[in-house]
Symmetry: D2
Subunit: 102 residues, 4 copies
C-alpha cells in the first residue's frame, strides 16, 4: 500500500489511519464518560473539565489531519502549480480559520 | 422539584439532563462519523469540517453547563457570601479560562 | 469605598484600573512591535509568534474583566434576584461565548 | 523593492505590507480605545465586547500572515523538497497550533 501512494492511498492520512481511529475511539469514550457524569449528577465543574479535555483531544486530531493535509495534498498541488494549487491553499486556509474560530 | 433546589436537584444542570444527554449522544455520533470518514478514505478537508463541527458542538455543551452553573451554584454561593463564594467564583473563572484556551 | 458599591465604584474593575491600563499599554506596545517587524521584513513565523502572544495577552485582560464582572455586577444583581439577575447572567454568558469563539 | 520579490523582499507578506500596517494601526487604536473605556468607567460588558473585537482583528491578521506564509515560504520550500521542506511544514504547523490554542 505504501508503494504507490498516489494511486492506492488517496489521502494524506491513510498511513496513519489506525492512529487516528484509536484517538477518535478515545474521544468517543470521553464523550460517553461526560454523559455518564451528567446521568450520575456529578459536579458541573468536573464535567466542564472533561468537556475541555475532549475538545482539546478533538483539536489535536484536527491539527494532525491538517498537518498531514498540508504535507501531502497541498504541497503536491503547489508543486504542480496553477489554479489547483491556489484552490488547495485557499481551502486549507479556510479550514484553519474554522479551526481557530471553533 | 424547584421548591427545594438545594436538596432535590443537587446540580444546576439536573432539570435539563435529558437535553444534555441528547446533545452528547449527537456529539458521540459525530465522532463516530469522523472515524467512518477516515476508514472510508474521505477527503481530509471534509473530515476537518466535521471535526470543527463536533468541537463547536462540545463547546456549546460547555457554555450551557457553565451558564447553568453560574445561574445556580455560583449565584447561590455568592448570595451566602464568605470564603465559599470566593472559592466558587475562582473555580468558575478557571473553568472559563480552560474553555477559552481549549 | 466598599460600603456603597453601587454608588462609589460604578464598575467592578475600578479598583484595579491602573493594573488594567498597564496591561493594555503593554498590548499596545506588542501590536506596535508587530507592525515594526513587518516594516523590517522579519520572518513570518516570528511575527506570528508575536501575534499569538498579543492575542493571549488580550484574552488574559478579557478573562480578568470577566472575573471582576462576575464577582461584582453579576453576583450583586443575582443577590437581588428578579429579572435583572437573569438579564445579567444572560449578558455575561453571551460575553463568555464571544470570548470562547473569538 | 517590489520589483524583485524573490531577492529583495525576503518574505511572503511584503507585497501587502501597507495593508498589514493599516490593520495593525486599527488594532492599536482598538486597544487604546479599550484603555479609554476603562479610564472612563464604562460598562464591563461593553469593554469585553471591544476586547473580543480586537482579539478577532488580531486573529485575522494572523490567519492572513499564515496564508501568505503557506503560499510562499512553505510551498517554495516544499517544491525544493528535502529536510528544509519538512522543517518548514513542522514550523508552520506549530504556528497554527499556537494560533488555535491562543
Amino acid at each position: 500500500m505504501d508503494m504507490e501512494p498516489e494511486e492506492s492511498t488517496p489521502h494524506s492520512y491513510t498511513d496513519d489511519k489506525a492512529a487516528y481511529l484509536k484517538r477518535l475511539r478515545r474521544v468517543e469514550g470521553q464523550v460517553r464518560g461526560i454523559a455518564r457524569m451528567i446521568e450520575g449528577d456529578e459536579y458541573c465543574i468536573d464535567i466542564l473539565t472533561q468537556v475541555s479535555a475532549a475538545t482539546s483531544a478533538l483539536e489535536s486530531v484536527a491539527l494532525r489531519l491538517l498537518e498531514d493535509h498540508l504535507r501531502h495534498c497541498v504541497v503536491h498541488a503547489a508543486a504542480d502549480g496553477g489554479p489547483l494549487a491556489e484552490a488547495k491553499l485557499a481551502e486549507a486556509t479556510a479550514a484553519i480559520k474554522r479551526l481557530v474560530r471553533s
